[in-house]
């Protein structure tokens, strides 16, 4: 087939769906590890499954790899039904959390293993292995054995091995789980670089939200076997669709309240925790039966002042209960006067010295009318 223009083909491919998971469930005995999950993964994207342990994210990944068979539902890869295809016949490769390098083989042999299974000619294997080793900057270590490498080096090898067969889909299981914090941030960006260089489509599983947000274009939050929300990291952080998601990603202040004034362009919420009503600068779809709502606001979107705000809404009075100085910013834990609820406020430390509030100071927490999210549940 003749290609009209490379860029046009590229953009057409980008939007195409590579993996289509339809109503997949997996039961172990009586528990539902994965419960009716439907998901589409686009060609060339890095997609993260984020969730606490036991949320079913690993089971979903293992079903993509073929190590578990779905109890219900279908998985399509590039249009082909692979639901019941055994793992060794799938064009999907996985990088394991423990890396799972073959300890009795050298680095070279590890990377060549998958290629040998395809009966690739010898010189082609040698050439491909050398290219993969160059890609992950490990060409000097070709004849070492895995136990003679550091954690970060092993990870590079594992990545090279899983990319060597040029799989349609790459799976990463807790890719940075075994690395220490500093190496982790380094490797996150490096792995993304390598994946972009080879143009791999990738699904990763992680419980580390920072990792997911650094590496992934889109992510899905999983809880109790279900997908709670899918979106870009920004979508999910700024517009969580439930209290669970909001609390799972980052920290957030939650106020329970009820609508007292519901208009097209703004609503007013009364919360027992706060001195003044909450004014939200946009309309909200509310249910008729219940006027109860949750107002959620991120700590960095609040303001902390020692002077009383002049407006008649969106602030509350309290005293500083605790301060965590973290260098770049400080977290103030403010105890509200009304109910004693603790509210978190981030204050960026942009100046080296300034008169920040101290313990037991009287302070006012305030926010603007677009700062928070109104949630129904």
């Amino acid at each position: 087939m003749a290609k009209a223009s490379p860029t046009a083909v590229n953009t057409a491919e980008k939007s195409e769906v590579l993996v289509k998971i339809t109503q997949v469930s997996k039961t172990f005995d009586t528990t539902w590890a994965v419960d009716d999950v439907s998901l589409e993964i686009k060609r060339g994207e890095i997609f993260a499954l984020l969730g606490a342990s036991g949320s079913g994210k690993s089971t979903l990944l293992r079903m993509l790899a073929g190590f578990e068979r779905p109890s219900q539902g279908t998985i399509l890869l590039d249009g082909d039904d692979i639901t019941h295809v055994p793992p060794h016949k799938r064009a999907i490769n996985m990088m394991f959390q423990s890396y799972a390098l073959f300890p009795h083989m050298t680095i070279e042999q590890n990377i060549a293993f998958g290629l040998k299974q395809d009966n690739m000619p010898k010189d082609e294997i040698t050439e491909r292995v050398a290219r993969m080793l160059k890609l992950v900057h490990m060409h000097q270590y070709a004849r070492r054995k895995p136990d003679q490498l550091s954690g970060g080096q092993r990870q590079r090898v594992a990545l090279a091995r899983s990319l060597a067969k040029q799989p349609k889909l790459l799976l990463l299981d807790e890719p940075m789980g075994a690395l220490d914090k500093k190496l982790r941030t380094e490797m996150q960006l490096e792995v993304v670089d390598i994946l972009e260089k080879v143009g791999a489509t990738c699904v990763m599983v992680t419980h580390d939200q920072e990792e997911a947000m650094t590496m992934a274009y889109r992510m899905a939050i999983m809880d109790l076997g279900k997908i709670v929300q899918i979106g870009t990291p920004r979508d999910i952080y700024e517009s969580p669709n439930s209290r669970n998601t909001a609390e799972f990603i980052g920290s957030i202040n939650i106020f329970e309240g009820r609508i007292v004034d519901d208009q097209e362009s703004q609503i007013t919420i009364q919360s027992p925790d706060l001195d003044t009503p909450i004014m939200v600068g946009h309309g909200v779809s509310t249910s008729i039966e219940s006027k109860d709502l949750i107002y959620a606001i991120r700590p960095e979107k609040t303001m902390l002042t020692t002077g009383r705000p002049s407006q008649h809404c969106n602030w509350s009075e309290g005293i500083v209960d605790d301060i965590a100085y973290l260098g770049g910013h400080s977290i103030f834990y403010v105890k509200l006067n009304r109910t004693g609820k603790i509210v978190q406020c981030f204050l960026a430390n942009t100046e080296r010295r300034y008169d920040a509030p101290v313990w037991n100071d009287r302070v006012y927490v305030s926010w603007d009318e677009f700062a928070g999210v109104v949630l129904n549940s």
């Binding site: 060794h88 959390q97 423990s98 009795h104 000097q140 270590y141 067969k165």
Partner: protein
Amino acid sequence: MRNFSFSRFMFWAGLTFLYLPMFILVIYSFNESRLVTVWAGWSTKWYGELFQDTQIMGAVKRSLEVAFLSATSAVFFGMLSSWAMVRIAKFRGKTLFGGMITAPLVMPDVIIGLSLLLLFVAFTQLTGWPRERGMLTIWIAHTTFGMAYATVVISSRLREMDASIEEAAMDLGAPPLKVFFAITLPLIAPAVASAWLLAFTLSLDDVVIASFVTGPGATTLPIEVLSSVRRGVSPKINVLASLIIFAVSMVTFTVWYVSRRLEKNRQKAMADDFLIE
């Protein structure tokens, strides 16, 4: 010894305790006298006598044969049962199977021997097979208890092994049988080798069970030695024991030497990689 310390003393005391008897045995194998306990000067005549003793040499050959065959089959079945116990997450009667497979470890030899004898006799009466007891029945008997030991050794290694290594191989396109031979077997090879050696030694060593299930013309070495000792210990037994010690040491040394050579070559190749850069 330059400076005396308690741990150093215990080290030498322990070594002496373990190896002095064997050392004395080897020395006495060069004894001139026909009495084992009386020293009468150096000689190698008993070595010559041993090799001419067709009865003992026949027993040695039979014993090695039985030990080789039963160790091999014990390891084969031991691998199968270990795999079933470790890699299959759940099957009906797993607990029972696990208990039964290791029962011969705690069962007295006399009971194993007697029960196998009864089994063989019953089989012969019912089906006419085995026609008579002998090498075949000893082989079967040694396989049953060797398999129990092999299962313990191999399954503990298999349990330690990260199952995701096998999954990775499968993920990279290797069908199950290929995974076993290319990945699992090389990784459990040390355990398989020690299981084989253990089963081999136990078979070579066994006298109780073999006595029960043996038949005419199938006298193994331990049975032969025991009965010849009853007639009075001959220096030939010393010679035989010395030769066994020598053979075992040679095998151990060779294994150590070869593995060290391989490791050194690899270290050198690795160092070269960095010189080229």
